[in-house]
Subunit: 474 residues, 2 copies
Amino acid sequence: MTQPFIDQLRAIVGAPHVLTEGDLTAWEQDWRRRSRGKALAVVRPGNTAEVAAVVKACAANGTALVPQGGNTGLAVGSIPDATGTQVLLSLTRLNAVRSVDTDNLTMTVEAGCILQNLQEAAEKAGLLFPLSLAAEGSCTIGGNLATNAGGTQVVRYGNTRDLCLGLEVVTPHGEVWDGLKGLRKDNTGYDLRDLFIGSEGTLGIITAATMKLYPQPAASLTAWAAVPSMAHAVQLLALAHKHLGAGLTGFEVMGRFALSLVAKHMPQLRVPFIDQDDVPYGVLLENSDSESEEHARARFEALLETAFDAGCVQDAVVAENIAQAHQLWHIRENIPLAQAEEGLNIKHDISVQIPRIPAFVEYADALLQREIPGVRLVNFGHLGDGNLHYNVQAPADGDPKAFLREQEDRVNHLVYEAVAQFGGSFSAEHGVGELKVDKLQKYQSPVALSMMRAIKGALDPQGLMNPGRVLPAV
Amino acid sequence: MTQPFIDQLRAIVGAPHVLTEGDLTAWEQDWRRRSRGKALAVVRPGNTAEVAAVVKACAANGTALVPQGGNTGLAVGSIPDATGTQVLLSLTRLNAVRSVDTDNLTMTVEAGCILQNLQEAAEKAGLLFPLSLAAEGSCTIGGNLATNAGGTQVVRYGNTRDLCLGLEVVTPHGEVWDGLKGLRKDNTGYDLRDLFIGSEGTLGIITAATMKLYPQPAASLTAWAAVPSMAHAVQLLALAHKHLGAGLTGFEVMGRFALSLVAKHMPQLRVPFIDQDDVPYGVLLENSDSESEEHARARFEALLETAFDAGCVQDAVVAENIAQAHQLWHIRENIPLAQAEEGLNIKHDISVQIPRIPAFVEYADALLQREIPGVRLVNFGHLGDGNLHYNVQAPADGDPKAFLREQEDRVNHLVYEAVAQFGGSFSAEHGVGELKVDKLQKYQSPVALSMMRAIKGALDPQGLMNPGRVLPAV
């Protein structure tokens, strides 16, 4: 019954690009190995026209489609379900940089381009593509757009949404919308671009995008500050905004326990100030300067002096060279890996208004420690955006698998209720996927949900685009 | 038949705030006096709950609603039609600044707040609200959001869309969506915020917004450069991006004829370099510095020196003080008034990719001069965003009214076809309103239009929200 349909897909993209047999783990299992699905077929179109033809065929056949980029998402949004009835549409063959326009400060790229390749393409043209996140070596720009990815440069350049000037999209009807004009101002009707960005493949398939580029800074310096409390970290952020203006391109906070895991499992990384017991938080700051390294250093030192005087920095070190700067960033980037080395943990990706973060952390820490004795809190994240990866590690003694099995729902409940109480979001930058569909139903405004359902129904009336992600399947 | 309905509206907002008699010109005539409508009633709710109740009453009665802020729009989007059946919903009584949060760098404001008052509220708190445009003394933030207004600071801070973190909206069903969390990262479902921004009141009523604030620069300097061609102006822009980075907060270009109108009708404004016949364009640059005025001046001078050496600046002056800076900006701001003094003209608000602007201007100038002998081109705008107000003034001799009557459609056709040929937009920052509904149908992608209609139908199934604006009435 399905063979004629599979044959049709083969005719569109070529037989070698329709996979139905062999080990399909790379496409069927999610990044964190929380879930494993089964695809009717893995289909790998080579260009936008093929994507459109595949979508049309699926629409005619009533077959659901799950788009996938690098499959590095953290919310189970890009693997098929277990029914074996869904087409997994892999976009990785759409990997051309169509153009880099140094005068327009844009590049037009296909959805399957790997983020790091785009950073390098911009650099080669003497420009900066500032999107940067842990998975950049394997995630794709299509996935970044579909999930509105954040990362470490948001404090200056915004989320992926803010870096995008236009999209090319295959609609659920298999039509191609070419929105790649590359204009910085264009008020001609509803903002479809931003509707598709962050919709996680549930409204259509992003096949290409025109992204903003920036001048490369003349110098980029990194500093590490020891701060006496989360409140002082927030105070330091305000000072950094004031002193560095748009020069502030990174502001990460890391709790002592998170850093101690790096020090324990990756001793070669040499975590600054980790031996000083009175340092509860480390802050990583990046200052990008359009003038010179000398100027950047002077501005950085003026900031840190003011911060010392204000009592919000205990100690600090400014990286002397790029190697040292990389090493400091490496510590930050390795926290998730150090966590994994330590054992199982429960991850959160939450945001609250920046000034409320200290009170939130104090409240949530106390709550969890009271409710689940022995729990260990791995708290780090993009403080410059009010975004914390507030992760919960199993107690040091006991069975971590049993902890996860027995406590995960409860831990999530406690954390998300606390976030709601502080007016925050249960998903700052990772999206909803399948993992948090119930959370969206619970915490998103009913009025907003009702509009989202109306939009989904209007654009994807058959409900074939990544069903059950973001919104419950109808 | 309508009296019970009017009484119902009076019961909701109070009798003094439902106007049906007397001179309603202020609400019924558009800013440019191109069009005059007749309202069933002008209704002036005092808070969001009243807006919701009015919308519910209109929905139940099948009455169309036209929301209005300062009524300064340029595309006829905020006045009632001529039927006398539409409710004109004036938002100007919703004018509270609900909060200014200096730590979160946000302010939450009601739709009817006048833009200039918000700039001042931010300044009073030691911060900057960068949205700035000609009508700022009377336009409202609700209107700025509904039309995604641009203005003079877009090169650094983006359009109104980029300055907004969240909205409060009354839906076509009269429900209130509270999206005012004030978070910088929140990936919890479809981006309703950006869907409402720029939708010109056709999907719901924006009643409040949380807007981003920025640190005030330590110094802001203005320069005026004489440049030998539009191509050199574009080259100067690239140099300015490279030298000033995020310090470049304004970049306006003004053609010689536009400046000569200011010199003629407002001689007290003293246009720089206007007596030099070999200066076809003036460029206004603004450099905002987070460090000091001294530093700003040094950076500016370094830029201008490089630009001289590269041959893209003929002469330049940096304002010595704020008064001088204001005077230079005043020249730019007075071009529309000088145009009006000179007589009737046909306005355009177009954008093309920045590197294509010189070729576009050369092509369009030649085309118009060939097709309509004697026509005079008033070309100025936000070159930093690729946005030109490419206006066409009647020939110096002859009857300007006859010119407008006979040539307006043809001039529009020539300009918009040229814009389309160069891959640009017929509405960069003013929106579509009623004036350009036919242009949207002609120049917007049919696939995009079909999605826009689907969204409109899904969110406003009765078609009562500002009907006939953006999209044709169904």
